[in-house]
């Protein structure tokens, strides 16, 4: 009799255990599903809207899904550069020249803006972090374009995100514009496959960046001793967790990361640029005030143009070369259509 009950008990245990572990297994499958979906269904960045079709009849969606139609008089410029004015006006003119924020942000969109807020101990004058008014104005424009939610985030390497948001001055402008700051939650770094990668096949990426409808990349143009310059592609380092690893083969790994994140719009803040001592800066003598903002839906093109502000050729930067190889964008500044706008003070 006692044996019987023990056996019954063991059977009951077995059923319970299998139900429990089976349930967990199922649950974990459920967890993987959206992630694998994310990794295979690639285009996170909003594709260029069909209204931008090249009237010459060239195919707009190339195999690479990257190269935009070549510039013609009737289409938007490939790069817009605004110079000489307040940061807000520079951003507004540059984005307007590209067709306005409505081209990138649709009603109800969840927008992530990724400025460079690399440390928590510098104010914007030192040009280590993106200009707060540039970021604030982008938030405002996204909301005007009908965005449902606009969040601003970066994962600093010096200090925690919340103190960096505050000390950089960015939080104040973002909140005033009606946006939100996204405090970094370690849970949201998810192991993500990068299908097109040549080197960085897997990486822990902040999931909000992957799930957002629109990612707007807002680097500040500054010096960096290995990459030479921190621009749009380098700025994407701030959405991943393990950064020291990237330095091994930086150019290619940045291109790999860019192929996964694909920001819809890159706006390079060159209101102030940092000529030396990047990324942290700290000497005003290294800062040059250029009052310039560069915008493009092509991250490689935006970076290529920004490189010239420092007297460099686009191909001087390894990540631009890798980005070209992977077909992530263009660097032929001589042939692409560039609209140069003098905003005036």
């Amino acid at each position: 009799m006692e044996n019987q009950t023990r056996r019954a008990f063991l059977q009951w245990m077995a059923i319970q255990m299998s139900a429990f572990f089976g349930g967990s297994l199922l649950a974990s499958c459920g967890k993987q599903e959206p992630h694998s979906l994310q990794t295979t269904a690639l285009p996170i960045a909003k594709p260029i809207q069909p209204t931008e079709v090249d009237p010459t009849g060239a195919p707009t969606q190339s195999e690479q899904a990257t190269a935009e139609p070549s510039a013609t008089p009737n289409s938007h410029p490939h790069i817009a550069v605004a110079r000489g004015g307040e940061p807000e006006a520079l951003v507004r003119h540059a984005v307007a020249a590209l067709g306005g924020m409505e081209r990138f942000v649709s009603t109800g969109n969840d927008v992530i803006i990724k400025p460079n807020v690399c440390v928590d101990f510098r104010t914007y004058e030192y040009a280590a972090t993106t200009n707060p008014w540039v970021v604030g104005e982008i938030v405002r424009m996204c909301l005007e374009a009908g965005a449902g939610r606009v969040r601003v985030m970066d994962f600093p390497f010096g200090g925690d995100s919340e103190s960096a948001y505050w000390n950089s001055g960015i939080q104040e402008q973002v909140l005033a514009a009606g946006g939100e700051m996204e405090p970094i939650r370690f849970l949201k770094f998810v192991e993500t496959e990068i299908p097109n990668a040549l080197d960085l096949k897997k990486c822990q990426i902040y999931e909000d960046v992957l799930l957002a409808d629109v990612v707007i990349n807002v680097p500040i143009a500054k010096h960096h001793s290995l990459a030479r310059l921190t621009l749009g592609m380098k700025n994407l380092m701030g959405v991943i967790r393990d950064r020291p690893y990237m330095h091994g083969n930086l150019g290619q790994r940045l291109a790999d990361l860019t192929s996964r994140v694909r920001p819809a719009l890159t706006i390079v803040d060159a209101v102030r640029i940092l000529q030396r001592g990047g990324p942290g800066g700290g000497r005003l003598s290294d800062v040059q005030k250029l009052d310039t903002v560069i915008a493009s839906s092509d991250i490689v093109a935006a970076d290529s143009y920004a490189a010239t502000l420092f007297g460099l050729q686009p191909t001087d930067l390894s990540y631009i070369v890798s980005g070209l190889n992977m077909g992530l964008g263009r660097a032929d500044l001589e042939t692409m259509k560039i609209e140069d706008i003098a905003v005036g003070a």
Binding site: V119, F121, R185, L187, S225, L226, G248, G280
Partner: protein, 531 residues
Amino acid sequence: MAPDSIKRSGGVSRPWTSLRKLIQALALLAFLVLFVVTRGETPGSTTNIFLRLDPLLALVNLLATKALVAGSAVALITVALTFLTGRSWCGWLCPLGTILDWIPLHRWKKGKWTPGEGWRGVKYALLLLTLFAALLGGLTLLIFDPLTILTRGLAVGVWPALDKLVTAAETALYQLPALRAPVLEVDALLRPLILPPTPGASRSAALFAGLLIGVVLLNIFAERFWCRYLCPLGALLGLMSKVALLRRRIEPGCVGCKLCTDTCPMGTINPAEDYASDPGECTMCLECLDDCPLGATTFTPVFSVDPLRAYDPGRRQVLITLGAALGGMALVRSVDAELQHPFALRPPGADPEEFYSQCVRCGQCMRACPTAALQPALTEAGIEGFWTPVLIPRIGYCDYGCNACGQVCPVEAIPPLPLELKQQQVIGRAKIDKNRCLPWAEEQDCIVCEEMCPLPEKAIELELVEVQLPTGETRILQRPVVIHDLCIGCGICEYKCPIAGEAAIRVYSSCSGGGGQGGGQGGGQGRRRGE
């Protein structure tokens, strides 16, 4: 003999006990809240108030440094309270005492061993040893102060364990899509104020929590074992209580029912002495006052010195502990600390040589440190520096934008420097191990240390060299070099160095060469927010 008719009045009306328990709970709650918000915007002079109320820390620091810290005057409140009402700190306010009251392990007691009355002398011996050692400049024994046990035990013992548990639970639950939103909401409540913004590292948490747990476990042998027999702060307050104004007295109406003897958590009511008690042991918990069915127990003003008990320290104990302190310090000091401790990296602004005799080992700075860079020294600072804070760069770096540790230090062993001054303090100097550094040893690209250096004029420069690869081709390589005089030893280079295991760049104590300028300028501010 207790007459049968006399019963404990338990549960009927115990006004004093109820009041005491309420105040105990509020004090413990206040302690925990202040402990948590030490990592936050609350001024350090508020969050460290319990430590500054501790007269043992203030006295020992005074004896060792021969200098008064203005903020320590708060301890006079406790001294005054003790001269008026005896060891009421222990019974009413001490957060560790309250925890010991709430975990009455003595009820499980199976064995027969009960510590004899002589054990009460241990705490006096510990107190005397602590005071004599302090006169000689040694503060190591403050690791046994109840508030340092609790603060340190929580900061680098219990909290890291809590962080591990919460992180594991969060990570597991986050796998379930339905739970993601609530898990994130809970995470937002916990981080960064209660737990570190990203799960923190720690070391030897078991050791620091272990002392705290050990103190609690001693409750098995006797109620409030720690407070009765071991606590050096209790001993100090006990000595003062010998002349306290308010003391327990037995009125003639006492019939010897022994209720008070049984109920006294300190076990100090002695039937053999007509139910008198030692004011040096009594924590003024007032259980006996509420219990006495005949109202024969009273607490009234007394102007006299209470007679010494057998376990109270006499001339012999004083001489023995003095000798032990002298011998102990001589043994500890027989090693030249400067030469032996290359990794005794002190918090910014602290004087590396004076620190041994200034730091009260409380662990408050370790709670405040947002990167968990400050950890109790195990071997880094020798026996004399045991459990003093040292920067362990592989665990965390000294954030260039943070000056929290100096703001919370209760004795200003870490001076409360404004951020601009703190950023100039030399903690140590970094050195590159060229046998391990990637560009030096393996001709690979890596500039992480240079990139991370937060100084306006970077203390790490990159040398351009042309190297020949095994394939025969040549290429330009950047190799990091530390500029010794610029480095402040914040350790972010060592923290971020991508080499596995020990970093290829390490910060060494600046004691031997140059040294950090100690000496504090007051007028500190909290962790900087904006401009």
